[in-house]
């Protein structure tokens, strides 16, 4: 019985974190068609800035985390203005190759972020103090309260996002842009201002995910590639550009990993999820919720 509870609690926490990390990634693709392979870099920047503010500049945990999230937003805009936008506008790059160029360029950008972080902060793993200290007993399972808080915050953000997209004017414009970019101008919005807004939203989500990650399992510049890969996997499994798909995929992968870690061996953690991914993509290349 405790084992079942352990798996449920642990799976919920890790899946919520995965979901938060992947949502921004999928929204950016849905709206502007960009697969940002520097994603992990943005998460780690937010995590390390929050850590630095707290541990070296003596800021409290909450202000430090806010600065970390801010750093995530700044990084998202830098990614857009320095890397993505020049390629989208370039006349030297043929239109059908832009996707490949953005993939490669953001990949390089991710490496630049990783190397810069390692240079400034070293590649030793860091950890941000818990937002909520203490231990909660969830039906017999000792769980750090902080982990439960991570799950709750993730869901509040997801609900907030749902509200924003469905109930506000800007949100509706984003939704429209993801369906038909040309239709947006009919609603009275510039497509470029939608893009600016979406990249800011993306930075916020990635920054938050990075900071929460740092309070739970910590972060290090060497994680950049793994974090990008895991978001990429979740988003493709869910169907590119589909937010509900990404949520579902995050939970599927999170729970399969947790089940594997508890029932067989923590070392095998990622294997079954990867195999399942191959099978799903083979049978249904557009992902669970994707449009062809």
């Amino acid at each position: 019985m405790t084992l079942v509870m352990q798996i449920l609690v642990d799976g919920f926490v890790i899946s919520s974190l995965y979901a938060l990390g992947a949502i921004g990634f999928t929204i950016i693709f849905g709206v502007s068609g960009v697969l940002n392979l520097a994603h992990g870099g943005i998460l780690v920047v937010a995590a390390m800035v929050a850590w630095y503010m707290g541990a070296n500049l003596g800021l409290g945990v909450y202000p430090a985390c806010l600065v970390g999230i801010l750093a995530g937003i700044v990084m998202a805009y830098l990614t857009y203005y320095l890397v993505v936008s020049p390629i989208e506008r370039s006349r030297r790059i043929p239109a059908e190759e832009k996707e490949i160029f953005i993939l490669t360029a953001t990949l390089l950008w991710g490496i630049m972020i990783q190397e810069m972080l390692a240079y400034i902060f070293s590649s030793n793993p860091i950890s941000v103090p818990r937002l909520v200290p203490g231990i909660t007993n969830v039906f017999g399972v000792h769980t750090p309260t902080n982990e439960l808080a991570i799950g709750v915050v993730s869901w509040l953000v997801i609900l907030g996002l749902w509200f924003f997209v469905n109930k506000t004017r800007f949100g509706k414009a984003i939704l429209a842009a993801s369906i038909n970019p040309r239709g947006v101008s009919l609603l009275g919005f510039e497509l470029s201002s939608i893009h600016r807004l979406v990249w800011g939203l993306y930075g916020l989500l990635a920054g938050l995910a990075g900071v929460l990650l740092a309070t739970f399992i910590g972060a290090s510049p060497t994680n950049v590639g793994d974090l990008t890969a895991s978001a990429f996997i979740i988003v493709i499994l869910g169907g590119l550009g589909s937010v509900p798909g990404s949520l579902l995929a995050a939970y599927i992968i999170g729970f399969i990993e947790t089940l594997t870690a508890y029932l067989s061996d923590p070392s095998y953690r990622t294997l079954p999820a990867l195999f399942m991914l191959i099978i799903v993509i083979y049978l249904r290349p557009q992902g669970l919720f994707g449009r062809r």
């Binding site: 490669t104 990949l107 390089l108 950008w109 240079y119 493709i236 990622t270 294997l271």
Partner: protein, 308 residues
């Protein structure tokens, strides 16, 4: 042919090869060691270009093929009495088998989905190496008993000859009718299919060829180093370096891949004094080239000539 013999390109080629061949007389062991690695890397990048440049598939998984060849050969050498050259051939064969196993399902997919499939292949291989650390040496590496040679000059010539032969074959393939068909399928798969080409068959062949040379190069490289380790032959960072090399040199040129690889490795060595920042500088240069010279070094030169 006589026109070819009189063309300046032919003579530049001869001079360049001759220069590389006589380099050991004058160059120090250190420079030769750097170039030896660069030549193996050049083969990685050229193999990747055949698939990416010509067949138009974003392959994030070159190190899946290289890693299979390297670890296949290395483990055979460690755990069986097979002679080294047999291990190298077996490594290349394992890479081809692995390549087919990956290609058959993956070639049904396009764009990011194909990319993801190749990415997952690398992650799986990495996981297996880490899980079976007892026999693979895990994340740090596997020491192999045999080495190609302990002489710097001999190692240099092995790598040089290997790069020239593989480059020649890959280049010939890319210029053959097969290469043109691959290029056509990469740019407009529907039109190519309408013309009656069996796209999958051609792409599969390209994949096998790419796998063969990647695996062979991986196997030879570990017998040069005397060790196989994840961060020289499997890690995503290596895959990224290969992609950077091919893009820098110029896609759809094959030879550009080798140039890009030599540039990257040599630049990495020259920048060694600035320490940890060297990778940052290399990535920045690559990004700038990508943004401002999207055709790469060789592509840009060719385009300019074509315009004249």
């Amino acid at each position: 042919m006589s026109k070819f013999l009189r063309s300046y390109r032919f003579w530049i080629t001869v001079v360049a090869i001759a220069f590389m061949a006589i380099l050991p007389i004058k160059a120090s062991g250190y420079i030769l060691g750097v170039l030896t690695m660069a030549y193996y890397f050049g083969v990685f990048a050229m193999s990747w270009d055949l698939l990416f440049g010509y067949a138009g598939e974003v392959n994030f998984g070159p190190t899946f093929l290289i890693g299979l060849g390297a670890y296949g050969a290395g483990m055979l050498n460690s755990y069986t009495p097979l002679p080294m050259w047999l291990c190298v051939i077996a490594g290349a064969a394992i890479a081809v088998v692995g390549g087919v196993a990956l290609a058959l399902p993956a070639l049904r997919l396009r764009g990011p989905y194909f990319g993801l499939m190749t990415l997952v292949a690398v992650l799986l291989l990495l996981q297996f190496i880490v899980i079976f650390a007892g026999s693979t040496g895990g994340e740090i590496g596997l020491a192999v008993p045999d080495v190609l040679s302990i002489s710097t000059d001999a190692n240099y010539y092995y790598a040089l000859v290997f790069m020239l032969i593989s480059g020649g074959i890959l280049f010939a393939v890319s210029r053959s009718p097969l290469g043109l068909i691959l290029q056509a399928t990469g740019q407009d798969p529907i039109a190519a299919q309408a013309m009656g080409f069996n796209i999958t068959k051609h792409k599969l062949f390209a994949f096998c060829l790419s796998a063969f040379f990647s695996g062979l190069a991986g196997a030879l490289m570990i017998f040069y180093l005397g060790t196989a380790s994840v961060n020289t032959v499997v890690d995503l960072a290596v895959a990224i370096q290969i992609i950077i090399a091919a893009v820098l040199g110029g896609r759809r040129t094959i030879i550009g891949g080798a140039l890009g690889a030599i540039f990257l490795i040599v630049a990495g060595e020259l920048l060694r004094p600035i320490g940890e920042l060297s990778n940052f500088v290399v990535a920045t240069v690559a990004l700038l080239v990508l943004l401002f010279v999207p055709d790469g070094f060789l592509g840009a030169v060719l385009k300019r000539r074509a315009g004249l």
